[in-house]
Amino acid sequence: MTTPAMDFTLTRDAFGHLSLTDAAGERHDHVQVVRAFPIAAPDEGISVLSAEGHELAWITHLNQTDPATRQLIDETLAARDFMPVLKRLKSVSSFATPSTWDVDTDRGPTRFVLRGEENIRRLPDEMLMIADEHGIQYLIRHLPALDAHSRKLLDRFL
């Protein structure tokens, strides 16, 4: 599967907004870059949407973009996608919900409140997604890869 070279250019203005100029030379301001599969395949399927939410461009894989665009996309996505990956559960306040969890994530240590067990959802391949009371989603990439202490704590909620 070969895809044609990028037929658009992305630029960022002084306000930090992205603009896209398509092959026809038409300029779209305030475009958004989103991932189609933020969890399953973060580097595949990147879409550029207009301010109205219509798709302007589709990037099959991030490595098909030129370095400048890639950097722009990476920066934008880094500031947009927030899904801390749980590395370790340090402690939980109680085994009954609501329960406050003290955790280490790939974005530093934090604590959050789990409202109920149903906010822990199983995804394929032993992946877990935990939503806290404010809707922030924490990810456990691979359950068996967690350390024993964390797994033991987590097991009380599964």
Binding site: A14, F15, G16, E52, G53, A78, A79, R80, D81, F82, M83, P84, S93, S94, F95, A96, T97, P98, S99, T105, R107, G108, P109, T110, V113, G116, E117, E118, N119, A131, H134, G135, I136, Q137, D155, R156, L158
Partner: protein, 775 residues
């Protein structure tokens, strides 16, 4: 520090900055500079968790990093601060008229505070532009009780209680709340238990004189005293009969009592569940809720009727036996009690594992019922896509997890029981040895030893059964926890503490600055809309534009996250939920018919309606004639999902249902979307009758169904983008025009290719639309 406290005393609203930020900021602030607002930022630029603070004074905006590093922006009239959020991260952007100056990020935990900060920023900047002092922070009123909220708080202290208390391990004792009405019975049951236990302790006591006064003397060559034997044996029989009678009365009374508690618990939980908001049901799985209310309450009931009773008896028995044993011979009694601490320790060891195990099996059981509750209603989709195997696999998997959890539990459990048995056997051995030694030393008689052994048999038997109860108790405790989980959940659509009653509803609806957030997604933003009494408003927009959410908010299925909805000027949150909904008629896309007759279904909202009223409503809804064609007329039974009736017929029944309660406000949520054009015309006629004289909010995908609307409101991505009647909007050539054009083209396409189009929608909606024919 002192000056700061003084300042706060003067203007109660000035927020106080906590340390260490306060210390860090000292150098950056002029002596007379006061803090207008501050905000904790819990994320840094790279979205890592790290605390910093953003401070607004009358002159500058200061960001203070974790390490105390300070960056300041002197306020300028061109400054703007914009708040945004996406997927759990909020951001505040500072910009002037040429470029972005700075961006700060935080999790949604801080969002309300950030919005407050941004509001205050606007006030301060407005004041700056007009060259005046920014006044004090205006007080915000609680939507429910109209009391001013304390500064920096979003929850009204008067209305919201503490809800974050996790249920304790002693959950079972919370069942007392349900036992209280049956205090008398419980006391009687307890006294009977006491008496029955006492009666069962008499026989071993009688073996002592039987041995020492009858059997031993006979062995030593004396005659058997027949009258004495008759007396003792009579005593044995008498105590057995008394124990039987008392035991019967006790079991009966306590079983009655526990069944009633179980029933109360079930109905209370169900009542509580019904009062929850739609949001709650959206997050929970049907199967799990069903398992909690049915099997968990039953488990608690069984525990109360059988095991709690046994447990009480056992404890009594052990205490009484211990007293009797001590009164006969304290030393021997002491030896008897030797295994007790070991058993207690063992119970303690095992209890926690058992409870977590049972808690887990409870959850897994919920999972199993959930699979059933998912697949059975969706069976048509499963069959249509030939996924029986996969669903079976899913069920198998849930069962496997169940097996795994149970296996783990049984490993602990299987070791536990025999260990207790072994300990009691050893205990018996010790008593034999010690007893024989004492008999040899002539400290006790053979009779005493026999009685002791008889008691100990019971004693240890009780210990054994008590230890067995550990598992059941833990099972019931886990069940009680899951039931109380439901009971402890405060509805997110709370009943007002000081309810306002509506008198003579006119039907004016005002949406003021309404915002709604579902999880971390903002679904509605800044919606302002006034609907006059009797007006019909059509809501149009792409799916996902927030139309249904808006309607759900008007029905108060959810409460708004920001802003307010008012009916005739009264905030809907201050009106009792049930009273408010009486004034609302709702017709949904997929009408739901309950199991029962058609008449019952029409009278669902007003069970006391007379037959004439039912028929009148059905007539107005154009349902009368087709109902009469059914073999049993209005008494025809309709199934769970209304099998046997077509989509259009069910829809007209639901319209009759809405007509019968004669609501002031009517909400039509895609009422005609799931039927063909021909049926739609039929329904449209029914709807025209329904709409007359009522404030109506209609959502329709097909714009042609909104011909009668006085006004159309066009929504896009959570905002109102256009408003006006059909002609005005078409003239404007904006969003609505595009929608309309797109649909016109589609209609023309349908006309050109009539042979293909009918097949298309039916194939497309095979899994959704309910057609009665397919079995």
């Amino acid at each position: 520090m002192l000056t700061n406290t003084m300042a706060t005393a003067d203007t109660a609203s000035t927020p106080l900055l906590p340390d260490p930020w306060h210390t860090y900021l000292q150098s950056a602030l002029a002596p007379d500079e006061s803090i207008e607002a501050w905000l904790t930022l819990d994320l840094d630029d790279t979205l890592r968790f790290s605390d910093s603070v953003l401070v607004l004074t009358g002159r500058q905006l200061i960001a203070c990093a974790t390490d105390g590093q300070i960056a300041a922006w002197p306020l300028d009239a061109t400054f703007e601060l914009h708040a945004h959020d996406h997927a759990g991260v909020g951001s505040l952007t500072l910009q002037d008229d040429t470029a972005r100056r700075a961006i700060w990020r935080f999790t949604l935990t801080q969002n309300p505070a950030a919005l407050r900060f941004s509001r205050r920023f606007d006030q301060v900047l407005d004041a700056l532009r007009e060259g005046r002092e920014a006044g004090p922070v205006p007080a915000v009123l609680c939507a429910q009780c109209q009391a001013p909220l304390p500064p920096d708080e979003d929850d009204c202290p008067a209305c919201s209680g503490s809800i974050d208390q996790p249920p304790s391990t002693w959950t079972l004792f919370r069942l007392w709340r349900f036992a209280r009405p049956y205090k008398g019975q419980l006391l009687l049951g307890f006294l009977l238990t006491l008496a029955a236990t006492g009666a069962t302790l008499v026989p071993p006591y009688l073996t002592m004189p039987l041995m020492d006064n009858v059997l031993i003397p006979y062995q030593n060559g004396q005659q058997i005293d027949t009258s004495l034997v008759v007396l003792y044996l009579g005593g044995l029989l008498g105590s057995a009969v008394v124990a039987w009678g008392l035991g019967w009365a006790r079991t009966y009374i306590l079983a009655l009592f526990s069944e009633r508690i179980g029933a109360d618990l079930r109905t209370t939980t169900y009542d509580h569940l019904l009062r929850q908001s739609l949001e709650y049901f959206g997050n929970k799985r049907t199967g799990d809720l069903m398992a909690r209310i049915s099997s968990e309450t039953d488990r608690i009931c069984v525990f109360l009727s059988l095991h709690a009773l046994d447990f009480a008896t056992d404890v009594l028995m052990i205490i009484m036996t211990a007293i009797i044993l001590a009164s006969i011979n304290p030393w021997l009694a002491l030896v008897t009690l030797v295994p007790l601490p070991f058993i207690a320790w063992l119970i303690h060891l095992v209890r926690d594992r058992l409870r977590t195990g049972f808690d887990k099996t409870g959850r897994v059981w919920g999972e199993i019922t959930s699979v059933l509750a998912d697949t059975i209603p969706g069976i048509r989709v499963v069959k249509a896509f030939a996924q029986e195997k996969r669903e079976s696999q899913r069920f198998r998997e849930a069962n496997r997890v169940n097996l795994e959890a149970n296996d783990k539990l049984n490993r602990v459990w299987s070791v536990f029981s025999p260990t207790v048995a072994l300990l009691t056997e050893v205990g018996l051995l010790v008593v034999w040895a010690f007893g024989i030694w004492q008999v040899a030393n002539n400290d006790i008689t053979v009779g005493v030893l026999t009685a002791f052994l008889a008691y100990i048999g019971r004693f240890y038997g009780r210990l054994d059964s008590m230890s067995r109860i550990v598992s059941v108790t833990q099972k019931a405790a886990a069940g009680a926890k899951r039931v109380f989980d439901i009971l402890d959940h405060a509805s997110s659509v709370p009943e007002p503490t000081n309810p306002v009653h509506l008198k003579g509803v006119q039907g004016q609806i005002t949406l003021a600055n309404v915002g709604f957030r579902y999880g971390n997604r903002a679904v509605l933003r800044d919606v302002d809309l006034v609907i006059q009494p009797g007006e019909m408003v059509g809501l149009v927009g792409h799916s996902g534009s927030g139309k249904s959410t808006l309607v759900n908010l008007m029905c108060r299925f959810y409460d708004v996250s920001e802003g307010a909805i008012r009916i005739d000027g009264t905030d809907v949150r201050s009106v009792p939920v049930a009273e408010y909904r009486q004034h609302i008629g709702l017709v949904l896309q997929e009408p739901f018919l309950f199991f029962g007759t058609i008449a019952e279904n029409i009278a669902y909202g007003r069970p006391d309606a007379s037959r004439d009223e039912i028929v009148a409503a059905a007539r107005a809804a154009h349902a009368h004639e087709f109902i009469l064609r059914l073999p049993q007329g209005y008494d025809s039974l309709v199934g769970e999902r209304g099998q046997g009736l077509s989509g259009g017929e069910r829809q007209r029944i639901s319209i009759a249902r809405a007509l019968l309660i004669d609501p002031k406000i009517l909400i039509l949520d895609e009422a005609t979307s799931s039927v063909d054009t021909e049926t739609e015309k039929e329904i449209q006629k029914a709807l025209d009758n329904l709409v007359r004289g009522r404030t109506t909010i209609a959502i329709a995908h097909r714009l042609s169904t909104l011909r009668k609307a006085n006004r159309l409101v066009v929504m896009d991505r959570g905002r109102i983008v256009e408003e006006g009647d059909h002609d005005t909007l078409i003239e404007r050539g904006g969003f609505y025009w595009r929608l309309y054009e797109a649909q016109q083209r589609q209609v023309e396409g349908e006309v050109l290719t009539p042979t293909i189009t009918p097949a298309m929608p039916s194939a497309h909606t095979a899994g959704i639309a309910a057609e009665p024919a397919l079995k």
